[in-house]
Symmetry: C2
Subunit: 452 residues, 2 copies
């Protein structure tokens, strides 16, 4: 076998054997297959696609390129969640401790923000001292003690994915469903999970702009996940407007704390509870949606979720006083309000515009190597559909200086539209997707029928 032949096979629309994919992935990690050969193959995959079986094999080889975590000593099924990335989406922060408090072990490996979407690790690190670069032993000990742990992808976890993703990023081969699926699933499968709940965002602020693309990605994620022996469900959720009421790293930690204390924003809590209940079900802790709701609510209302979060912060080296007193979280010196020109209703908030404003404030990254400012961001005082008075503040920009405050507030102003009539309400959770197909999300009815 030689590399040229393997590349030529995909170029000519062939289906790869396991041996060919193994030759390619192992060779690439070893350095026998050059970057320029891998990128030619990636472009051929981008243009001709891969079958679910090929993608599952590729994913498995990417998992096997590094360490695979396993927690046989911990009882029950391990479950995690992955989101394709949105604006104001801090769901992982309250979700993991709540699900852990419901008795499910959640070994959560997260990423950093890039472009207009935020990343869980950046948010967590706005808590002074909190370490996310956990080695496997520490990750295991936090998981064992608290029921969940939150770390980043180490060099040993799916290194093939790390190397291939960096290459895709500079060769125009990012937006390919089989390559996205293998990248997402390889990192998650390497965590040693049994089940996975996916939040595939759909809309202007998401990677997938329309339902068709979001469903196609979700369908392939669940199919390939199933072929790999994992129990996978995907939700298609709305990202045509920011989630929650704050965007920025420390700001979102503050919202996460509110969620854990039972007073989070309605939309954020709807998403946390939906994803959380699905995780509880996939872990076989509940037989029906109603049962999982009871477990989830108990974890929330008893304060056990909150306690788990505080324990994780403590064990991962974070300053517990900071989460107990969120007003001590990093802030920003300059606050600038975006005012409503007229009385009426907020008719639209463009998540992309708000996300880009936060990046411009220094709260996100243009390039992977950029450093970020934890305290900057945007507070939204009105959500889409809410009424406003003329001159009232619709949003506040938190900036490190006047200059960036000015730029960002202009962007936020451009992103928020008002009008005389309230727009029709949009559904947040739109579809449930399984390996067999998808259905509009109607809560218990949809879940229970899909699961039986």
């Amino acid at each position: 076998m030689n590399v040229r032949e393997v590349i030529a096979k995909k170029r000519d629309r062939g289906e790869h054997s396991e041996a060919e994919l193994q030759f390619l992935v192992e060779g690439y990690v070893r350095g026998d297959v050059a970057d320029y050969q891998m990128s030619a193959w990636l472009m051929a995959v981008f243009l001709h696609g891969m079958s679910a079986a090929e993608t599952a094999t590729l994913t498995r080889l990417m998992v096997e390129s590094g360490d695979v975590l396993a927690f046989p000593e911990l009882p029950g099924k391990k479950v995690d969640k992955h989101s394709t990335g949105g604006v104001g989406d801090l769901v992982s922060l309250p979700l993991a401790p709540l699900v852990a408090a419901a008795g499910v072990f959640v070994p959560m490996i997260s990423g950093r923000g890039l472009g207009h979407t935020g990343g869980t690790l950046d948010k967590l690190e706005s808590i002074k001292g909190l370490r996310t670069g956990l080695e496997p032993d520490e990750f295991r000990s936090v998981l064992t003690e608290v029921g969940f742990a939150m770390g980043g992808q180490t060099a040993q976890l799916a290194p093939a994915d790390k190397k291939m993703y960096a290459l895709r990023d500079v060769t125009g081969t990012v937006e390919s469903i089989p390559l996205i699926v293998s990248s997402i699933l390889s990192k998650k499968v390497a965590e040693g999970i049994d089940g996975l709940v996916l939040d595939v965002k759909c809309g202007r602020g998401a990677f997938m702009k329309n339902e068709e693309d979001a469903l196609a990605l979700a369908q392939e994620l669940t199919r390939v996940g199933n072929l790999m022996g994992k129990n996978v469900r995907a939700f298609i959720t709305n990202m045509d407007t920011p989630l929650g009421n704050a965007i920025g790293n420390a700001l979102e930690v503050e919202v996460a704390i509110a969620c854990l204390k039972g007073n989070g924003p309605t939309d954020t809590m709807e998403l946390v509870s939906t994803l959380g209940q699905a995780m509880i079900c996939l872990a076989d802790k509940a037989a029906t949606w109603e049962e999982s709701e009871a477990l989830f609510q108990k974890a929330l209302q008893s304060g056990e979720g909150w306690n788990a979060f505080v324990s994780m912060v403590k064990l991962q080296g974070g300053d517990v006083s900071m989460v107990e007193n969120p007003n001590t979280l990093p802030g920003a010196p300059v606050h600038k309000d975006v005012l409503a020109a007229n009385a009426g209703f907020v008719t639209d908030i463009d998540p992309f515009g708000v996300g880009e404003a936060v990046v411009a404030l220094g709260g996100g990254r243009q390039k992977a190597e950029d450093s970020i400012h934890p305290g900057v961001g945007v507070r939204l005082h009105r959500k889409v559909g809410e009424s406003c008075e003329a001159g009232e503040s619709l949003a506040t920009v938190l900036a490190k200086d006047e200059e960036t405050a000015k730029q960002a507030s202009a962007r936020v102003e451009g992103a928020i539209k008002t009008g005389s009539e309230a727009p029709p309400e949009e559904k947040l959770v739109r579809y449930l997707v399984t390996a067999d197909g998808y259905e509009p999300w109607l809560g218990a009815k949809t879940w229970d029928s899909q699961s039986t």
Copy 2:
């Protein structure tokens, strides 16, 4: 502009602007565009193609990436020939001196053999002392004095092509018509020519296996050549059987000498005269095919073509006594005959099999860095359609040792088929292709109608 966007444009079937191609080619030569980015783009071009206008722009940029030769001090139009490569195809060796003797300046830059096809430079270098690595000044002085010169692609000639070809070779992106066209034409246009005759081989022993593919390549070569302001004609010629009666480096020099002395193999001479007359016409030395035939025959029969060849050998440092006494050309110690099992006719000689036998003998290269043996090869005593007696030698293998002689003669034996009936005769020159279309080749009638 950034590289990712340019790659993504071709990935999404876009048509490149001149600025985009310039950004890519100049950036690649400078090192700002990485190999892995160029190879992703090459794969996108392989799969989505390029318009003739894009290919012409790419070709021009590849030409401009290095030195461009020009010979304004030499009178008349400069014309060259290029072949896509065959087995036993030594045409360049007698062609260039004959056309030069007819009064046309031929600045010929040739290549080396790779795989089962031979290369002009390797053949020439079997003449002791002959240098093909000519710097521009020496190339010009040989051309001026003799009317033609035979050199190799220097590092300064179309360096973008050199770098891109090396990358295509290892990334499965060789067999792409726009990329082949730009590679061929960039080297030829950089020679400072006005006209170009192309020999696009078609058949088992050629890069293009069938007429459809050969015609598509020839059509694009003539179209793009025209867009670049060059007068280009292409012939589709048969490569389902080796050309001439010997394959191997020194062996083919011997055949070339026979051609120049008026006693070359019929098929080789048919091709030399067809391509030569076309070159004479493109240089405006003859108004009709008949006139160009007269000029060509005069160059041959007067011995002026032969004299020009000898002068070139001398000026390029070669041992003239060796071409004057071809039996002093490099030979091989072991000769092994391939015998006819039965009386009858030779019905088939597979050029690929014979070419591979010569590579196995050490007369060709598997990889670009392999060294070659000038004296080894295969003499064919019978051509397809000729009769044979049982036990008669059909071919002789010339080898450096018994071991390779045995292997190669088995391959040659497998490549030659005999039968009780002579096969139907196949046409050697099949089509004439211009930028406007193609017609079956019927000699003067076709040429004169296409040219008016």
